[in-house]
């Protein structure tokens, strides 16, 4: 009983070193959605801001999309894949309860012995992943971490449900987190509210689905979700700025989870964002891709020239659970 245990020492500062994404090939306009629900293009756009989304084809699996996004992020970071010490995949649409898809992603990207696990944090998944990645690097458990958000929500979408059929979509995003000279990831403000567990959920558990021979689908109670997302999450977003010590004047980008354009617009009003801050509106072309939406939106803003290296971005994910997480990051 005389032995002592060493402690690990990590990096003093961490940052997002690279970002990548994968958008499925098939563009699905509202007209296709309208073949199965009684609605209109105008109604869908007014209610959600969505003009089109992308649905994965058979070969665009959770694994394939994750790997493509991860390779892009690795190339963006310049980090040797063999240096990745941990792979975190946030998803609710990897249809195996076990094993985690992260282990296969690790092999495919060239980090075959990295620690690897999946996270179920719905639309907050990417921000949860960034928070854990940063802490793993700071704690010395990994030098570099690959954090991925990926979904094939079209697999769990009831195409005849007029309240959700137009919302959900597919895609992947990834970030490489590692040591940095100056801090590039603000403290996370995160939490959950399980008293509202029912507001967004899979309708049937797998046992019920097997017994009833019905494929499970996602359901959502729109108005209470809207209220929570706008007003509670605006407070969380403000807290993330406060703990990072970043003022609205210093902020360049606001990248909320792309849940619904109306939520983004209302959060924008609630936060009283000054005009110079560019706001992610990727949902118009991409739909709601849950854990993938934030990195997809960031790469879209980068591709269009709206976002540039060094920009300070406030990111916030929120969704089923209810769960949420927000932090300020500096773009690579």
């Amino acid at each position: 009983m005389t032995g002592t245990i060493n402690t690990s020492t990590g990096a003093a500062n961490t940052a997002v070193l690279g970002i990548g994404s994968y958008r499925p090939r098939t563009v699905v306009p509202n007209s296709v959605i309208l073949e199965q629900i009684e609605s209109s293009d105008e109604w869908i756009q007014t209610r959600s801001g969505i003009k089109e989304r992308r649905w994965a084809e058979d070969d665009e699996t959770v694994l394939m999309m994750s790997v493509e996004a991860a390779k892009q992020a690795l190339a963006d970071s310049g980090v040797d894949p063999a240096q990745i010490g941990c792979v975190i995949v946030s998803t609710v649409t990897h249809l195996y309860q076990t094993p985690a898809i992260a282990t296969r992603v690790a092999v495919e990207v060239g980090a075959p012995t990295a620690a690897a696990f999946d996270v179920s944090a719905a639309c907050a998944g990417f921000c949860y992943g960034i928070a854990m990645a940063s802490d793993l690097v700071r704690g010395g458990s990994a030098k570099y971490v690959l954090a991925i958000g990926v979904e094939r929500l079209s697999d769990l979408t009831d195409r005849t449900d007029r309240s959700t059929a137009f919302i959900f979509a597919d895609g992947a995003g990834a970030a490489v987190v590692g040591p940095s000279d100056e801090q590039g990831i603000g403290p996370v403000v995160w939490g959950s509210d399980g008293t509202q567990y029912e507001l967004i959920s899979q309708k049937e558990n797998w046992q019920e689905a097997v017994d009833s021979n019905n494929w499970p689908h996602l359901r959502m109670d729109g108005n209470p979700v809207f209220r929570w997302a706008v007003y509670e999450m605006a407070k969380t977003a403000q807290q993330a700025l406060d703990v990072a010590g970043v003022t609205l004047d210093q902020l360049d980008l606001f990248v909320p989870h792309q849940a619904n354009m109306r939520i983004t617009d209302a959060m924008h009003r609630a936060l009283k964002l000054p005009g110079h801050i560019k706001v992610a509106r990727d949902i118009e072309r991409q739909g709601n891709t849950s854990a993938a939406s934030i990195p997809l939106a960031i790469t879209a803003m980068r591709d269009s020239g709206e976002a540039k290296s060094g920009d300070l971005a406030l990111i916030i994910g929120f969704g089923a659970g209810l769960v949420y997480a927000a932090q300020v990051i500096r773009l690579p």
């Binding site: 007014t46 209610r47 729109g222 108005n223 209470p224 809207f226 209220r227 706008v230 007003y231 109306r262 209302a266 009003r269």
Partner: protein, 82 residues
Amino acid sequence: MASTEEIRSSLAEIVNEIAGIPVEDVQLDKSFTDDLDVDSLSMVEVVVAAEEKFTVKIPDDEVKNLKTVGDAVAFIERAQNG
């Protein structure tokens, strides 16, 4: 205590800010959905803004009963007096 007209007028400003409806159109007999084109998501925003403005609580169950501007004004009056 605010008068009916004062509440209507403040509510009209909220509806104007959120949904862009001219304040003069927000009259007691007007239906939020049918006359003013305020959909259910905008109604959530109006309700939250009204709760802050008038320091009242408007439960989710109650919102569906607030069909007209007059319904909302009457609810706020009752809640403030209660």
